[in-house]
């Protein structure tokens, strides 16, 4: 264990420097500029003027780098959301998020964690906002798929089958269930091959919501279309025992759907297992930590 502590003066200097880094960039001129007038006087005093630039302009290099790097990471993590908003507007939301939740992990990839929740609260009401919320959740689901560890799919034993009804199926982190009311997955695929920063048009709303299971595979992410009730069931199964999930689903069904539910549920559960939607069976209550099933 390394025991020596950093001197207090270093911590103070670094706190001042950190505040310079996080100073918001000025958007008022239509481009992102460092606002050196906002830097702390003591931070300026820490730095020397250079042969080409005064101290404030030297610190501004770091201030810009901090924001542009994080904007790039945010755009990469939320590509669909970023293009629906356009990068300029997306950066505005990203900056507010990052000021509220500055990165704290050594893993830069974690800096965007929670942005979809932040955006949910930051957007107003309206169809465009709803589409952006949906887009951000799809982007977040996609990120989770790529960050998931190696996961063995559930292969139920005879014992498992016996206790299935009163157990909870543990969602695989390598599978996400998403619903879309706009054809956003198609748009996401199109944008993956189209560079650009400007806002793209939101495609027309779908007549009916579409449910998908997104499954990470060696070659990429496979989209598996789900029936709507199947998607709802998979989502409920992430939070409840099989018995409770089925009861909750049944409560929302029409008479005809209710009559067909036993056979359908059997079929959906069987193919969920076949597709590796779950990685375990537990009697522990849901802690809300499951990374797998995305509730939209």
């Amino acid at each position: 264990m390394s025991t020596r502590s950093a001197p207090d003066w270093l911590a103070a200097l670094q706190a001042r420097f950190g505040a310079v880094l996080r100073t918001p960039l000025d958007r008022s001129a239509g481009s992102l500029r460092a606002d050196v007038s906002a830097y702390d006087r003591d931070a300026l005093d820490d730095a020397l003027d250079g042969p080409r630039r005064p101290a404030a302009e030297r610190l501004a290099v770091y201030n810009r780098q901090y924001w542009f790097r994080l904007f790039g990471v945010m755009q990469t993590a939320f590509p669909l959301t970023a293009r629906l908003l356009g990068h300029w507007q997306f950066n505005h939301y990203a900056a507010r998020f990052l000021l509220a939740q500055p990165p704290h992990a050594w893993d830069l990839d974690r800096a965007p964690d929670g942005f979809e929740q932040h955006l949910d609260g930051a957007l107003d009401a309206g169809a465009m906002s709803d589409a952006l919320r949906e887009a951000s959740r799809i982007d977040a689901a996609w990120r989770r798929l790529f960050r998931a560890p190696a996961t063995a799919p559930l292969r139920p034993t005879a014992d498992d089958a016996a206790r299935l009804l009163d157990a909870r199926l543990v969602p695989s982190p390598a599978v996400a269930v998403v619903v879309e009311r706009w054809p956003l997955l198609e748009l996401k695929a199109t944008l993956a091959n189209a560079r650009g920063e400007s806002a793209v048009a939101l495609p027309p709303r779908l007549a009916d919501a579409r449910w998908w299971a997104l499954a990470r595979e060696p070659g990429g992410v496979r989209h598996v279309a789900l029936e709507a009730r199947e998607g709802e069931l998979l989502t409920l199964l992430g939070r409840h025992t099989v018995r409770d999930a089925l009861a909750r689903l049944e409560a929302t069904c029409s008479d005809a759907e209710r009559a067909a539910l036993p056979a359908n549920a059997q079929r959906w559960l069987a193919r969920g297992i076949e597709r590796g939607v779950w990685c375990g069976l537990t009697t522990e209550p849901d802690t809300g930590d499951d990374q797998g099933i995305t509730q939209l």
Partner: protein, 308 residues
Amino acid sequence: MRASADRCGFRATRHGAIVAPVSEPSITANNDAPRRAPAALARDALGLGLRIAHYGYLFEHWPAVGYFEVISENFMGPALPPRQRLDAVRARYPVVLHGVGLNLLGPDPLDEAYLDALCRLADHVDAPFVTDHLCWTGARGLSHHDLLPAPYVPELVELAAERAAHVQRRLGRPFGLENLSSYVEFRRSTMTEWEFYTSVVRTAGCSFMLDVNNIYVSSQNHGFDPLDYLRAIDFSRVLQVHIAGHTREPDGTLVDTHDHPVVDAVWALYAAAWRMGGPFPTLLEWDERIPPMPDALAELAKARAVRP
């Protein structure tokens, strides 16, 4: 250097390839790879910083490259796809680790959980050496994700050296510290950068990860002779030399963007370093506007041509 490559390109617009892209190329191609390439590097080896942009070409052609350097943090998490790609690369090439998150000069103690993960990764790829930067990257629980300079004072030599020695002990393999590109100097400094750097490495008993582009960038930004810097280096302790491109801003400030070919002045500095202390493994970093892999390898091959 530049912080992360795939993860950060350290320049104003650094990207974030750290994040797995939406559709990474899959690993295809011939399955005639050896079970695992030897770990050791030739002393004059030429290597390339591994970037996601290269995967498509790499996994199809497996070109001749002396070794790859990967950004440690991109592979330290539990995510499966990066690890699968790393294993495919490691099967055919030696891999060295280059970190951007050690935070050697931060105010907080070193993160032992981070070191645990780094050690596991180094063992996994059997890295001939591991490097990170003589810098701080965060403070008081916040991570700034940049390679930030500190004042050059003897008190911090002791701090950095004790921590670097600890890292090397934990790794159980050679650990090298890289010199930064910097854009600011502190009023508090009482030593030159090279006095500080060489003192830390000597006191710690670790090694240099010498970036000649960074020496050049800082020399232009702060007004020193880059040869003075090189003359201070004990080349018997140099694990690796980085070369890279940079950007010149209108007022002459150089920014370590890794988005251009290596400039002539940096090649000249590289040749001078080789004269003083070659051979050493040489690695090209390219993090933004990444060219097709054959072009990056052609740029890397120039190193052989400029050696005296």
